[in-house]
Symmetry: C2
Subunit: 209 residues, 2 copies
C-alpha cells in the first residue's frame, strides 16, 4: 500500500474568504487576526498568548474566541499558510527524487531547513494542540511519507538497516526543542550538524557521497 500516494495536501480546507455569511466588520477582524496570528506564531511558536495576538490585531481577546473558538481553531485557520503548505511541498519534492538515498537526504535537509526558520513546525511535530484537524492530517501524511522514504532507503541498501522512521522523528523533535531553547546556532554549525546526522544513518559500506 502507498498511503501517501497524493501528498499534495488537502484540497482547500482553509479558504482565504472565511465563512460567507459574515458581517463586514467581522470579516475584517478575521483577516486581521489571521495576519497577526501568523506573524506571532512565526516568531514565538503556537503557544503565543492569545492576548498578544489580539492586541496585534487591534481587537479584544474575546473576539478571537468569537471568530475562531479558541487557540486550536485559530491554529487550524493559519497552520496551512504557516507550515503545512511548505511541508507538503517538501514531501512532494522528496518523492520526486529518484535515488532513494538522495531522496531521503533532500527530505531530511528540507525538514531541518524549515525547522530552522519556523518554530511553529516543532509545535506541529509535538502535536501540542491535537485538536487541530489540519495538524493531525499533516502529521499523519508526514509519518506515512517518512516511513516510505526510510523503507526505500533500506531496500536500496543506502540506509542502515537498524535506522527507523521513529529515530528520524526523535531526532527532529530533539533538534526543534534545542533550537527553541538555545541561542540560535550559526547557519554553518546547523548545516554541519545536519550532515553529521545524515552521515550517521548512511549504511557503513557506502559512506562516501
Amino acid at each position: 500500500m502507498t498511503p501517501a500516494a497524493r501528498a499534495a495536501g488537502p484540497a482547500s480546507d482553509c479558504p482565504v474568504t472565511p465563512r460567507p455569511g459574515l458581517r463586514a466588520d467581522a470579516a475584517r477582524n478575521v483577516a486581521q487576526i489571521r495576519a497577526a496570528a501568523i506573524a506571532a506564531f512565526h516568531g514565538r511558536g503556537l503557544s503565543t498568548p492569545l492576548e498578544e495576538i489580539a492586541a496585534a490585531a487591534g481587537v479584544s481577546k474575546a473576539t478571537i474566541y468569537n471568530r475562531f473558538g479558541g487557540r486550536e481553531g485559530l491554529i487550524d485557520a493559519v497552520i496551512g499558510e504557516l507550515v503545512a503548505a511548505k511541508m507538503y511541498a517538501i514531501m512532494e519534492k522528496a518523492r520526486r527524487v529518484p535515488d532513494p538515498w538522495e531522496s531521503l537526504v533532500a527530505y531530511v535537509t528540507d525538514r531541518r531547513d524549515l525547522q530552522f526558520t519556523e518554530p511553529a513546525f516543532t509545535d506541529a511535530l509535538l502535536m501540542t494542540y491535537p485538536e487541530s484537524r489540519q495538524l493531525v492530517l499533516l502529521a499523519e501524511t508526514a509519518t506515512a511519507i517518512t516511513g516510505e522514504l526510510v523503507q526505500q532507503g533500506h531496500e536500496a541498501g543506502a540506509v542502515r538497516r537498524d535506522f527507523t522512521a521513529g529515530d528520524l522523528y526523535y531526532a527532529d523533535v530533539a533538534n526543534g526543542l534545542a533550537l527553541r531553547e538555545l541561542p540560535a546556532p550559526s547557519r554553518a554549525d546547523y548545516d554541519r550538524r545536519t550532515r553529521f546526522f545524515l552521515n550517521s544513518l548512511r549504511a557503513h559500506d557506502q559512506a562516501r557521497a
Copy 2:
C-alpha cells in the same frame, strides 16, 4: 594548559551536616526538605513547584525560603547528590581511558546514560538556574573536559576534524529536551541512537569499531 587537571570536583562544599548553629527542629526540617527535593527533582526536574516539595517534606513553603533562601539555594544544597557526584565520576572515568576514541565513547555513553535516568541533568546542562554556584562550577568543569576529550580525539585522528565540543553540547541538550518532552523511548532504541551519534562523529577512514 590543562584546566581540568583535577576533575574530582570541589573538595566538600555541601556538608551533610548543615550550618552548625541550627536548632534541632530546624535541622530536622533541613534534612526532610533535602530528601524531598532530591526525590522531586529526580522525578520532575529542577523546576518542580516548591509547594510540592514542601508538602512532601511535611513543611510549609515558607520554611524552604527560611532554610535555603529559595529554589536556587535548594538546588545548590542537593545538586551534588543529585547530579554533580555522578558527573564528576563520569569525567574521571573518561580521563582514565587511555585510547582517545574509547575515552570519548565512554564519556558520551555515560553522559547519555545519566541523562536517561536523571531529568535534572538536562536542567543543569541548560543552566536554567544560573545562580547556583555548584551548578556553574560543574558546568565549567564539564566544558573543559569535553573540550579536552574532543581535542585528543582530533589529534589521534579518531574524531572528524569538523566535529566540535559545541556540537556535542548541542546534541546533549537536544537529547535531554526530547527525553523530557516525549514518552520515554525503550532502552534499546535509546542505546541505538547513542551509537548512531557516536558513529556520526567518528572520522570516516576508520569507521569500523
